[in-house]
């Protein structure tokens, strides 16, 4: 495989992972935004957050999910979006892990609330691991803003001129 082919494959995989992550996070966030009280119930079942903070977490996290998903579509914000999805993936993994270790039989609250919602279990953990891995890949293989030409740094240019 040539270097060009290798680069094209990486770009295609990055785009594919971005689309997958964005779809998952925007969908999950939108469901929670539409039913914040249901999400409060799910969060409460994890017995992880203090009571007074449940509503704030339930109001903030869904919007972070949606915005991170949207950011993945924007080249300039892609790394930030991937960082957010990765951090959320890690926190979801830790939340579900502690629930499983404590023997809590609860809905994961990942994709909506109700009877048909998935139970928090090993499948949920596997999804979280996949989310973290995909986020890391996107973050690693998306061009950083810092890689733009340094010629735009006016202070550096001024320092060179004065030398």
């Amino acid at each position: 495989m040539t270097i060009e082919h290798h680069g094209a494959a990486k770009r295609a995989l990055t785009a594919l992972l971005c689309a997958g992550l964005a779809a998952v996070f925007v969908y999950a966030g939108a469901l929670k935004i539409l039913d914040p009280r249901g999400f409060v119930n799910d969060l409460r079942n994890y017995r992880l957050f203090p009571w007074w903070s449940l509503n704030a977490v339930a109001l903030l996290v869904p919007w972070w999910e949606v915005l991170a998903g949207v950011a993945l579509f924007t080249p300039r914000w892609r790394r930030a979006g991937a960082m957010m999805t990765g951090l959320m993936g890690v926190s979801f993994f830790l939340s579900v892990s502690q629930a499983l270790l404590r023997g809590l039989d609860i809905h994961c609250g990942c994709f909506g609330h109700g009877e048909k919602a998935a139970q928090a279990g090993l499948k949920t953990l596997a999804i979280d691991v996949a989310v973290v891995a995909a986020s890391w890949y996107v973050w690693r293989h998306s061009p950083a803003a810092a890689q733009r030409p340094a010629a735009f740094d006016e202070s550096a240019a001024a320092a060179l001129n004065s030398a």
């Binding site: 409060v40 009571w51 903030l60 790394r79």
Partner: protein, 170 residues
């Protein structure tokens, strides 16, 4: 660190979006719950911990929750949800033993009383929470809705219809 500061900006923008969207709701959620108030006093908190009729019916069908009837022993004996335990709100200490023996602290517990503005279920939930059973919900409409419903019911003073008679059975 550029992506870090952008992620922080996204998080901040998310907080603004959440504030606007919450304020636009017909009944906005309070951002911080007043945990010093009791469940009975805090309407927002109480609303958070209620179950709908459909949710209750689903749990009853799938045996995925324990049910507590918070009404008096006489009303319980006259008719209750099949499988429900009786913990009258004015005699909780003497009736709760059966819950401690048969229900896991992690199990979902749905509590109901007469319905309307009855406070018995709230009192029982507070008692259960203080006793370590924190996975509790209240069915606010209570027996007022359950009584005439098609859900399986039993009579008598024992749970699970062991000595009572199931009304649905021939």
């Amino acid at each position: 660190m550029k992506s870090g500061s952008r992620a922080a900006a996204l998080a901040f923008f998310g907080a603004i979006c959440a504030s606007i969207a919450n304020a636009a709701r017909p009944s906005p959620l309070p951002w911080v719950l007043d945990f010093k108030s009791s469940v009975v006093d805090n309407a927002a908190l109480a609303a958070t911990f209620e179950v709908s009729y459909d949710e209750l019916a689903g749990h009853l069908k799938q045996f995925s929750a324990a049910f507590i009837d918070a009404r008096s022993a006489e009303l319980f004996a006259a008719g209750h949800l099949e499988g429900a335990y009786n913990v009258p709100s004015d005699q909780m200490e003497s009736f709760a033993g059966v819950i401690f023996q048969n229900v896991s602290p992690a199990q979902l517990i749905i509590v109901y009383c007469d319905g309307g503005n009855c406070e018995a279920s709230h009192k029982v939930v507070e008692f259960l929470n203080a006793s370590g059973f924190r996975n509790t919900r209240i069915f606010k409409q209570g027996w007022e809705m359950l009584g005439p419903s098609d859900l399986p019911k039993a009579t008598g003073s024992e749970p699970m219809g062991s000595t009572g008679q199931s009304q649905g059975a021939p």
